[in-house]
């Protein structure tokens, strides 16, 4: 499937390439000059489409990487082209330098767990720092080799794109430059589009859709964000290099607020998640402003502003997605309505769960003297648990007793103030959720947590891939799990369109697909009817064949049916342990649960 898609992508790419190159040589050269700029800006916009539309990082830094690429090309070109007789090295340098800066900045941002809006502002601040710094290099003492940075005037004497030739360099004219830009742009677009379908692309999409879930599945979110950021930086840097080669100058204006915002504007106009949209957005906005600039009126900004507002109001998803939707409505053959949604629960009553491929042994899980303080509130004040491998265990307690805090400490969503957590013989106290997941921990949260805009198949695939690191094996696993869930018919639909009950099973399926050795379930029966609850009990027992299962629950009926060892929390401590019947015989437990006695009496 992936291969066929890749082949069709290459087909479309080749078509666009031939068309673009043919057109490049046919148009007059002033037109070629203009279009080359649009293609270059299109590449810049594309880098933002990838970073924002695909990876979900709203970065104002694309303009910065663009500028860095431009300067890198200019400096390398001025210093080296005389010796090497070509500037392809300079173009490579542009992409590389931008990627390196992106890596450094991305490491700083993503490994510091900076929030989304703040990423936008940090990248903006970095861009403005570059503006300030590069504008202040007018003094001739600021130079790299023969290239004087030139302050606000910028680098001058930047060499054009030159190919190495048998007798001296071959300078590219406007038409050849346009053709070159088209070739690079198509190549980058095809590569990015293939990348989006690769496991890396799927994981990045997962990060965009639901960071917490992705991390709980076992992916180091920071790494994937950083990688996307670096790729985006490299593409923007390449575009910057081409820009310098196009205009034969580069100056700090590329680091301005104007340019930084313009990148986002192009993509918003064209369509956030569309590769083609990046180029359409640029062609539209730049084409409009170029045309208006030639008409000599002083209303240019007014018209441009009004058009942008109109785009927002009329085409909220951007031009390309809106146009595609419209075309589809008119051109699409009427699709057969999907088969009636069978909200069938999985055949969990059948013990035949999808067979696991790996042979990791179930692990015991142990907590020693866990403390957790939030602000001034002591949520947990010394809880210890020791749950043997391959068992089911329930954590119960009234609201605020500390059971959910304990759950989150086991899952690694935050670290304990004091105490240790062990999985088997491994101390996992300081491990992040994704590291724990890779050791074999599977987690289902109380609130729904899946990828609404990815397909059901992709949801389960992502859970399976973390274990196998093999797209094909993960695919097989996903199909098996979906079949087991009875969701095969809906595998290709967005998970968001499934019913509420199906969401629950999908999440269970994601846990199963990860082939965990320790399973943590937070209130798995919340919102379920009696029938489903009973099935869940069976499911948990089936899971316990290969794993240690910890269930946080306060539905006492469910706990009774499950009939597993129970630990009861009260006021941040373990209050009692034993079988459910033992606990139900304990007067104090009943007092707490039914609120019959004041807590002070119990504590005393």
């Amino acid at each position: 499937m992936t291969q066929r898609r890749t082949r069709s992508e290459l087909g479309v790419g080749a078509l666009l390439l031939i068309l673009g190159v043919a057109l490049s040589t046919a148009v007059p050269d002033y037109r070629a000059q203009e279009w080359a700029l649009w293609v270059i800006y299109g590449l810049l916009a594309l880098s933002f489409t990838f970073v924002w539309g695909h990876a979900g990082i709203f970065s104002f830094g694309q303009a910065a990487f663009f500028g860095i690429g431009g300067y890198a090309y200019g400096i390398t070109g001025i210093d080296l082209s005389g010796r090497t007789n070509e500037t392809l090295t300079a173009l490579v340098a542009a992409a590389c330098v931008a990627a390196i800066v992106a890596a450094a900045l991305g490491y700083f941002i993503f490994y510091g767990n900076v929030g989304d809006v703040y990423v936008a502002i940090i990248t903006l601040a970095v861009t403005l720092v570059l503006l300030t710094v590069m504008s202040s290099t007018a003094d001739p003492k600021y130079h790299v080799g023969a290239a004087a940075l030139g302050g606000y005037n910028g680098l001058v004497g930047v060499p054009p794109l030159m190919l190495p030739g048998a007798d001296g360099p071959v300078l590219l004219g406007s038409n050849a430059l346009l053709a070159g830009c088209v070739i690079l742009a198509v190549a980058v677009a095809v590569l990015l589009s293939i990348l989006r379908r690769r496991p890396f692309g799927r994981i990045v999409a997962g990060v965009r859709e639901n960071e917490l879930r992705t991390s709980l599945l076992g992916y180091d979110v920071r790494r994937y964000k950083l990688a996307s950021f670096v790729i985006g930086g490299a593409v923007a840097g390449l575009a910057g290099g081409l820009y310098a080669a196009w205009g034969l100058f580069i100056n700090p204006a590329v680091f301005g607020l104007q340019q930084a915002a313009l990148v986002a504007i192009w993509v918003l106009v064209g369509g956030r998640d569309s590769i083609l949209g990046a180029f359409v957005g640029v062609a539209f906005v730049q084409g409009l402003s170029s045309t208006l600039g030639g008409s000599g009126g002083s209303a240019t900004p007014i018209v441009l502003g009004a058009v942008l507002i109109a785009v927002v109001l009329v085409l909220p998803r951007g031009m390309v997605p809106s146009a595609t939707a419209l075309l589809r409505r008119f051109l699409a053959p009427p699709r057969s309505s999907p088969e009636p949604a069978t909200a069938a629960a999985p055949d969990a009553l059948r013990p035949e769960m999808p067979t696991r491929a790996n042979t990791m042994a179930p692990q015991s899980i142990e907590a020693v003297d866990l403390h957790k303080t939030f602000g001034g509130v002591q949520a947990l004040r010394g809880a210890s648990l020791s749950l043997p491998a391959q068992s089911v265990h329930c954590l119960i307690g009234p609201n605020g007793a500390g059971k959910s805090t304990c759950f989150n400490l086991l899952a690694g969503r935050y670290g304990p103030t004091k105490g240790r957590v062990r999985m088997g013989t491994t101390d996992i106290t300081r491990l992040r959720p994704d590291q724990r997941a890779r050791l074999g921990m599977g987690i289902k949260l109380q609130v729904p947590s899946f990828y609404a805009t990815l397909t059901a198949y992709e949801n389960v695939w992502l859970a399976g891939y973390v274990r196998h690191r093999d797209a094909r094996a993960a695919g097989e696993r996903a199909h098996a799990v979906l079949a087991w869930l009875g969701l095969t018919a809906r595998a290709g639909e967005d998970a968001g369109s499934l019913s509420h009950g199906e969401h629950q099973w999908l999440e269970i399926g994601m846990v199963v697909a990860g082939e965990p050795v320790v399973v943590l379930l937070d209130e798995p029966t919340a919102g379920m009817g009696r029938e489903e609850t009973l099935r869940t009990v069976d499911l948990i027992r089936a899971l316990a064949v290969d794993a240690t299962v910890v269930v946080v629950e306060h539905d006492m009926e469910f706990v009774r049916v499950l009939d597993a060892p129970v630990t009861m929390f009260h006021e941040g401590r373990v209050f009692a342990s034993g079988s459910i019947s033992e606990l139900r015989a304990d007067e104090q437990v009943l007092d707490i649960y039914l609120g019959r006695t004041s807590t002070a009496d119990v504590a005393g």
Binding site: V129, I302, L308
Partner: protein, 288 residues
């Protein structure tokens, strides 16, 4: 350091901080209370300055002209909210695009109305001499105005019915409707209030800046930096962030150079956001 130098230095530092407060407060209200990234904030400042200019030229007392300008920009804000922003709630990126478009329009409308040339109004009050230095008395006005605007924001959000509702709508957006808060009205008023504050900021800038249609661009970057570094606390966050960034800028500019001042302001903002990923007030209990 001599006494006169110290006084001068302190005045300069406080004025820098005050300037950051007056240019950021409107943005903080609109961003903090509504989550709208208003890229036309700079143009609201610019409008405040131009309206003040018009008021003074029409013979109004300069202080009255400033108040009138703030109110006028508030009205512009109400109109913008009704005509544009209200269709875009919950669409962060769309509001950015729309307000960017709006900023282009506002700049050019002002160019057509006032011409592209820079204008100015005389600085009210005179200057005082402190030892070797001459200090503008208007600096004190700026410091006072910053405190006054902070007080106004505090009072509006704690002592008025609108303020209580607005805070409720921000903190519990799902519950607001249930307890009878008219979100449409609250949003409209918040945007208008934020715009009026921006207008006041612009009005206060008018006597110390070149009043020119493109002036918003010079301030908007700093305003965003201050608001975001401040974090979710509209009042406390903005005040602290302005205090911190303004002091750094002023200190470094005075001791070293303007270039290093600007650069250090941005670098401090970056480092702070890295260390406190939700802004200075992100972990504070009191969120106003």
């Amino acid at each position: 350091m001599h006494g006169d130098q110290l006084v001068n230095f302190a005045a300069s530092l406080l004025t820098s901080v005050a300037l950051l407060v007056v240019i950021s407060l409107g943005l903080a209200v609109i961003f903090g209370m509504m989550g709208v990234i208003n890229l036309a904030h700079g143009e609201f400042l610019m409008l405040g300055a131009f309206f003040t200019l018009s008021g003074v030229r029409a013979g109004l007392n300069v202080w009255l002209a400033m108040i009138a300008a703030a109110l006028a920009v508030g009205l512009v804000g109400l109109a913008v909210e009704r005509l544009l922003i209200q269709f875009l709630y919950g669409r962060l990126a769309a509001t950015m695009l729309a307000t960017w478009g709006l900023s282009l329009i506002l700049v050019q409308v002002v160019v057509l109305a006032y011409g592209p040339a820079t204008q100015g109004i005389p600085t009210p009050l005179g200057a005082v001499r402190v030892g070797r230095y001459s200090l503008s008395e208007y600096n004190l006005v700026l410091i006072g105005a910053a405190l006054l605007l902070l007080a106004v924001v505090f009072l509006v959000f704690t002592r008025t019915r609108y303020g209580t509702m607005a805070r409720a709508a921000t903190q519990l957006p799902d519950m607001a409707g249930a307890v009878g808060i008219n979100a449409r009205r609250v949003n409209m008023l918040t945007f208008g209030f934020g715009a009026a504050l921006a207008g006041a900021g612009g009005a206060l800038l008018a006597p110390v800046a070149g009043v020119v249609p493109s002036m918003g661009q010079a301030y908007v970057g700093r305003a965003f930096m201050t608001v975001v570094v401040g974090g979710p606390g509209v009042l406390t966050g903005t005040a602290t962030a302005a205090g911190l960034l303004g002091s750094v800028d002023s200190l470094v500019s005075n001791v070293f150079s303007s270039f290093l001042g600007t650069a250090s302001l941005l670098l401090v903002a970056i480092v702070l956001l890295r260390l406190l990923p939700t802004g200075i007030s992100g972990r504070w209990r009191r969120q106003l």
